[in-house]
């Protein structure tokens, strides 16, 4: 299992993502944003941070980088892609995932451990959708622009299609996200994005190793 972690100027969680990929049982390498060739990776992580300073809108400029063009082709070919926090914002801006992430309702940057409910999914037949364990995961969330938003009709169809992958547990929604949505996937099921940070919950030293389960699920999607 070979992982590629995309690094933009302003990324800050790429090292933790590399480590999480390795702990999930794989090799991992960084892919600089100017790189158009992803090499022979089996899965891609678009990590957290503040790509290109988050100028204009979070993720708006990163989506036009050569590496993201390559990631878009990789995703279209069914390759598993995991976007975390700023990576989730980038994937939404790139239209690889539906919806958008807006300024937190509180206007505050929040940083705390949250309980995430994994929405049990029946992946569409013939796709390489991630199979996530149906349980509650304890994972840190740290962001200022994490309020998931989509028009009501889009939210309805996401729920009907099984594209809502994670919800904040009752009372845990840190940002005012619509319908407590913390993460979504694309229709085919091979692109997954979430605001909380599974890569920061991989070592018992920091309290929870639940994040590894997300990396393991993404890794297995390609096996």
């Amino acid at each position: 299992m070979k992982w590629g972690v995309v690094q933009f100027p302003g990324s800050c969680d790429e090292r933790d993502a590399l480590r999480a990929c390795e702990l999930a049982g794989g090799e991992a390498q960084l892919i600089w944003h100017e790189e158009r060739d992803l090499g022979d990776v089996d899965a891609i992580v678009v990590p957290g941070g503040f790509s290109y300073g988050d100028y204009l809108r979070a993720g708006a400029i990163a989506r036009f980088s050569p590496a993201m063009e390559a990631v878009t082709e990789f995703a279209a070919a069914g390759g598993p892609v995991l976007g975390i926090c700023n990576g989730f914002q980038v994937l939404c801006e790139a239209d690889l995932l539906p919806g958008a992430l807006l300024l937190n309702e509180s206007m505050r940057f929040t940083c705390r451990q949250v309980d995430l409910q994994v929405v049990q999914l029946n992946p569409p037949e013939g796709t390489q959708s991630f199979i996530l364990p149906g349980e509650t995961l304890s994972i840190p969330a740290k962001h200022g622009e994490g309020r998931y938003w989509a028009p009501e009709s889009m939210l309805d169809s996401l729920e009907a299609n099984g594209q809502v992958a994670f919800r904040y547990a009752p009372g845990e929604n840190p940002n005012g996200s619509a319908r407590d949505i913390a993460g979504v996937r694309n229709e085919a099921g091979n692109v997954l994005g979430l605001m909380p940070h599974p890569e920061h919950a991989v070592d018992p030293m920091t309290g929870s190793t639940d994040g590894l389960k997300v990396f393991e699920a993404v890794g297995e999607a390609r096996v």
Binding site: L56, R57, A60, I61, F64, E93, G99, A100, L102, L103, N104, E105, S106, M107, R147, W149, A150, P151, G176
Partner: protein, 76 residues
């Protein structure tokens, strides 16, 4: 070169916490009776071909899912 100004604002119905925060701060300064404050962005630019502007706005300057934009051409 054509000069233009692009006004970008959150779509109607989307909560705008920045606007709300500004609205709440006004009475403390003695400005009563101000409502429906919405905070957006303004981008000034000069373009060789102003016909490109709508596409450029939809692709980059605004996110059409969450924002409306208006292009104002400025006569030099």
């Amino acid at each position: 070169m054509a000069k233009a100004r692009v006004l970008i604002r959150p779509k109607e119905g989307i909560l705008d916490p920045q606007g709300k925060a500004v609205e709440r701060a006004l009475p403390a300064l003695g400005f009563e009776g101000v409502e429906h404050v919405r905070v957006g962005r303004m981008v000034e630019l000069e373009a060789d071909d102003p016909a490109q502007l709508p596409a450029l706005c939809e692709k980059l300057l605004a996110n059409p899912l969450i924002e409306d934009f208006e292009i104002e051409q400025i006569d030099a």
